[in-house]
Amino acid sequence: MSFPILTSLVALPIVGAVLLLFVRARPGDDGEQTARMTRRIALVVSALVFVETLLLWARFNPASADFQFVERHAWIPSFGISYAVGVDGISLFLLVLTGFLTPIALLSSWESVHTQTKAFCMFVLLLESAMMGVFVSLDLFLFYVFWDAMLVPMYFLIGIWGYDRRIYAAIKFMLYTMAGSVLMLLAILGLAVLHYNATGSYSFDLLKMYALNVPRPVQFWFFLAFGLAFAIKVPLFPFHTWLPDAHVEAPTAGSVILAGVLLKMGTYGLLRFAFPLFPQAAEFFAPALAVLAVVGIIYGALVAMVQPDMKKLVAYSSVSHLGFVVLGLTAMNTQGVQGAVYQMLNHGVSTGGLFLIVGMLSDRRHTRLIAEFGGLKKVMPHLVAVFLIVTLSSIGLPGLNGFVGEFLILLGAFRWDPTLAAFAATGVILSATYMLWMFQRVNYGTVTNEKNAHLPDLRPREWFVIVPIIAVAILMGVLPNLFLAPIAPSVEKLLNQFHQSTTTRIEAKAGAVGRVLSDPADRRVRKDPPYVESAR
């Protein structure tokens, strides 16, 4: 049997966390030495996990659409619950992203976390383990366990090491997310019962569920249950109000992981579970989801524009960016879905980077209010230079990562519904507006606040934190095919299955469009626009 690499991805952070339990203060130590030791161990473990995700990428067969490195072990056989994990093109890079961001998050809080360092590092590692678990689960029950397990460490990260209103934000985060996931649990149990009715045995196996013929009315209810859980997590407008609070109150490491990885859980869930399990319902609800996504793009951007707090601004910008991802998914064609998957990664890198930089500023000044800053370019030229690059990546400048995802999503959405795409594209204008306005107020002009006059520029540790982000942003902008190629087969397979299960009405329309576009997988166009007519 080959090395269980996926299990080790889940287990290694837990092992690290357990290891930290044994770090004890030596006699005569003031705690600082222990803390340093703890941080180092945690960093090394998370770095090892990252290396492992890179190995996974290297050994991943990019031509295959199937799940790879699959492991299956019976867990609770009487209910058909198994430990089943696997990775395909859709989850591969989300694992790599998790592996990439965790050490960066740890490193970013090297000095800002003073209290209970050991517990902090343990929670970060446990969180990493749960996130890996969510992305590799092929069993619905297992998925649900990891899904809820994620909440606990995040709850403590916000509640213990957060800013002033951290308790409020932590509880809100916890309750809001739980409220969504309870309904999902019911739907998961319902699926198991359906499976029992159909075959005589319970199962939570995702692949078996894909094959299950769920009656159309049931699909609607189950889709709504799953959809609500995921919509809250995304967060999709109007379920987003927990996000600004959670982000603003979370410590930098928490914000980076929250924005970088946790927000992807929602869109990943839609793509992996809600859409393929309930295709007919998805087909029915897709337009509504898309409209909410576009509203979120514009609404998030407008509200971001008027925020006085940098972290809140970035948080609302996430609502806008994640709206793009959902829009790409709902288009359910090659470019839309590939763009959505790509944009999940982009958002992790760009917004993670923005939170890192805001964290650096707030470490120095203990405020995140834009009005408190101004003229930083003169004081900290290096920090402002990297700030600029991350800003540009976030607003989708071609040549950097954001553009590729946004363009593919817009293309996918445009092929589905040009009007929605046109509305979504206004987000491109608005994102430039709010980001550059913030950038100007923080960095340009003269130093008006004496406290800013002598701030130190990037420290060596901070270089280590931010340079990888920038390197990845450039890499993903210049060589996107490095990532798009392994994603493609799994996306095609998913789309094929999806479109086979949806109504024949769509198939009939696809014939006409297919002739023009000559791409069997890109068949989803809801209405025949005039240009299709004139091409024939």
Partner: protein
Amino acid sequence: MLLLIPLLPLVGFLINASFGRRISKGASGAVACAAILASFAVSVLAVSQLVALPEDSRALVSHAFTWITSGTLNVGLTLRLDPLSAVMILVVSGIGSLIHVYSTAYMHEETDCEYARYFSYLNLFAAFMLLLVLGANFLVMFVGWEGVGLCSYLLIGFWYQKQSASDAGKKAFIVNRIGDFGFVLGVLLAFVRFGSLDFQEIARSAATLSPETTFGTVSLITLLLFVGATGKSAQIPLFVWLPDAMEGPTPVSALIHAATMVTAGVYMIGRNAVLFSHAPQTLTIVAIIGAATALMAGTIGLVQNDIKRVLAYSTVSQLGYMFLAMGVGAYGAGIFHLYTHAFFKALLFLGSGAVIHALHGEQDLRHMGGLRKDLPITYWTFVIGAMAIAGVPGLAGFFSKDEILSSVYFGGHQILWAVGLLTALLTAIYMFRLVFLAFHGERSENVAADASSHQPPATSHSSDSPQPPATSHHLHDAPPAMAFALIVLAIGSVFAGYVSRGGWLDHFLEPSFAPQTLEHAVDGGMETTLMVIASVTATAGILIAVFYFLRSRTAADGIANTFAALHRVLLNKYYVDEAYDATIVQPIHIVSKDALWKIVDARILDGAVNGAGETVGGLSEALRRVQTGSVRAYAGSVFFGAVMILGYYLWR
């Protein structure tokens, strides 16, 4: 080899961006100049290879790698050199080189690291601009398109400590993004319609269609693309960023905001000439917008007092001219004017830079005068530039302008022709007004006092560099590096027009626009008549300027007073900025802040969530109260429940 053309300035950028803080001014200037000059040399080499090819296969293609693949979308980082891009790379790298050289002297008062920062941006700009004109498909062009926008943003806001400069940079970026919104949608629609983003493939598919008689898909594609062009090339309604862009250092204004970047929209139409030719309705819109912009900007240029703003409006106006040409299908004439304009407008800007440099940052024309004695090189080169743009026969501008006007006339657009002619008259007037105010008469420092009451705050902005205005005693003419650039450009402004002799340029460019270049029946006699009319117009304009601004300035003031309301409207640029601010910027801001954030988000959405939480909390509280611990109360409630259940069954 084509890849080297944008790559060399990119390397220059990387060197200055990484090590700029550690090397001397001389070194960073040398690196930047070497990079762009090397790029120019390679460009010349590449173009000479191109010209050596037989006429019907004049194209060099260089494919670096496949950039984005997704389904049927397959976009390569591919560069293609054809006659049109040949003209463009020569202009960009050639004039770019001169401006780099000029800048080594102009920016010399900056500190080492600011100097390096300046040159790194300038190199980066050249790299993106060359990518823009060499890109073989829409997406590569768009990389350049956005990249030059970024550099424009950075260079306009180069003196970032000045609020007006960073405001202007941001405004430029955002207004351009509004244009990009249209551009991107146009690209998406083009892909959906033609299944490709490659210019050549799109042109090939489009060529098989017949021109759209009604407003169809191709018309929509081209109109959306044109929206992008109005942003980048500062046309109505998105021209408002360009005058503000004058906050940047003057060589930047010359390179980016006159000679190269702002012409990208014109180039883009030329690049998609086949597509535009199939959309006659879009072309009509292009022509009308172009003519209207030319006239509007020309009228504003008449009354501005900031030397760079006059030139900025002049640029907007001349760009309008180019769009007018494109709109009547005279692509060759439009590109020809783009090319000649690059010479004389760069020259005029660099000349104004020499003036500003000599006066230590003074930009207000009313504080100038009599400079011709102190700045002879600047003066004579500036006059050549002014004559060229005014359309004095024999100079570059005359040929290109004449070609545009006659194309418009023979295209059957007499009204647009008249507008063009009127603009030509205005051009001659405002250019020579500028010449006379700056270089003739006597220098007076107190004139401003009474005149500045008309001055809106936006134009009375402060100067390029922080030094106080110098007295008129020891003024220095342009230093060698600057003088060199001025002289070369002056020579170009005289002779650049002769490439069109015998239709050589048109013929050379034809493959890029073929097969749809519109041929109009040209009447030889009428052509001569038009040429005479154009010459007379230019001369008349200069004479008007001589009368009002050289002989009798009181007469000019008299006119301004007679038409005081009109004068004020022009001074305030038709209040377009104010109108945009009141109807778009402020409403969005207020709605976002007071309605969306404070009411929808905080009260309604979050209020509902917190309300739900409180309801649950309240219910729990109520339930907690029920748990009294009193056995009698529990027994009572059990009894009550039993009765209710029994009652339900009985009653049913």
